[in-house]
Symmetry: C2
Subunit: 239 residues, 2 copies
DNA sequence: TGAATTAACTTGTAAATACAAGTTTGGACG
DNA sequence: CGTCCAAACTTGTATTTACAAGTTAATTCA
């Protein structure tokens, strides 16, 4: 499965090792091949390998120890939504079911809940809007509201998002890569709608995450709001 | 102000540029000197400069653009508690007042709220325990409970933490550096005690952050729990 | 046998170099 | 005067080399 046209080598290596860990080739407590061995395997040099390992460290897959090696920590527990990855890759596709609540449609921007100001040209174009419910192990955990400017996304509203990664579609169909972003987290009380979808009682505390995602396409940002029932699945992060 | 004995060069450069940004030498929208210019200024080479800039990007101080340069974003808005820094350096010392609620004392471990299992030797030794209230702009925002094993920390309980950074004391007095850590975030309802200290009503949603911090001293971890009123100050992070 | 030392690993930091790719600027040419 | 294009920047990726510092294991010597 090729990911994209010209992925830099360190990302290729990163993806391979990452997959090996989530597939169980390397298990928790194992020690990865040394950096020099990885150089030989992947036909590259240490700085490249180290750049790949840096990412794995940052995302909690491995931990490094000088003089010893890279120790596999396993697939990060909890939900690593604080990282670059979307929900799908953060929790693993196995236990995640996505239910589309509001199919992608073009509508006006709803800036009421947005923590970030819109750019002029974004406001001119319409907004592609959809809502998704993420269910892990039969329990609803996330409620996603995604908004993105309707710029050069032909046929998007007719695509089927069910159990597919939004990021994957953007990358393969439109050649748009997520390159970074920022987010604000706060604790709120679930409103009626969220109560219903996340199956919680009135007055239940909810994690509200307001994100602005940056892409490889100049001036094209994704805005998303995630409501998370953190009772069962805490948000996890390493640093 | 020297920070530590032998800080690697890329960290020195990082600290300098970071200070320049928070001091306003470089302001929001400015473009940093090019990497080659920074090389000349700091008498080092691009890989070293880039490693310093990588950190600044990760913490939201700057944003880089190929072909253009490094654009200063300013001091990260909100509270960057998701990063490596402690609260003091994350929000700037100016507006932060720290009130000691429970002075450092040696007591048994209280594992009831701890999300991480204790190591054997940690349990054997006692626990240094203290509670602090962080007040920003006259509003209580954080309630910190910190626990750390009572191993080789002579005279710690008689030290004055008021308005001082815990990390600074550990680094200067005990030569202990924070090297990383992990955390879990969840939304909870404030209990009586938290309600009182954070000055919120019953049923108010609170961000609960459970952290385990790793240090340069082998096997020495800090455990801390932060209760945050995210109404005024959201938790902020870039990635 | 047992303890200390050494050698052979590991990762961490750093330099010097090269080229690719994106942006800006200014000059040549119509 | 305006347009196009090339040169001179910028950051991104990659290689090669070197040494420092921490860990492990084998070897040596008492």
């Amino acid at each position: 499965m090729r990911l994209s046209k010209n992925l830099p080598q360190y990302k290729v290596v990163y993806e391979i090792i990452r997959k090996h860990i989530s597939d169980g080739v390397y298990q928790k407590g194992d020690i990865l091949p040394s950096e020099n061995e990885l150089c030989a395997v992947h036909q590259t040099t240490r700085p490249t390998i180290r750049k790949a390992l840096d990412r794995l460290v940052h995302e909690g897959y491995i931990k490094k120890k000088q003089g010893k090696g890279s120790i596999v920590m396993g697939v990060p527990q909890g939900v690593g939504i604080l990282s670059l990855s979307g929900t799908t890759s953060a929790v693993g596709q196995e236990n995640l079911i996505t239910e589309i609540i509001v199919k992608p449609e073009i509508r006006q921007w709803d800036t009421s809940n947005l923590a970030y100001p819109l750019l002029n040209n974004e406001e001119e174009f319409g907004c592609i809007y959809f809502e998704r419910l993420r269910i892990m192990n039969k329990q609803p955990v996330f409620y996603d509201i995604t908004m993105m400017p309707n710029i050069n996304l032909r046929r998007f509203i007719s695509r089927n998002l069910e159990n597919k990664s939004l990021f994957n579609i953007l990358r393969t169909m439109y050649d748009i890569e997520i390159t970074g972003g920022e987010q604000r987290l706060m604790a709120i009380l679930a409103d009626k709608k969220i109560q219903e979808y996340l199956n919680v009682k009135e007055g239940h505390p909810i994690l509200h995450i307001n994100r602005k995602l940056e892409t490889s396409r100049e001036g094209f940002f994704l805005y998303s709001q995630v409501y998370c029932n953190s009772e069962k699945y805490a948000i996890f992060g390493t640093f």
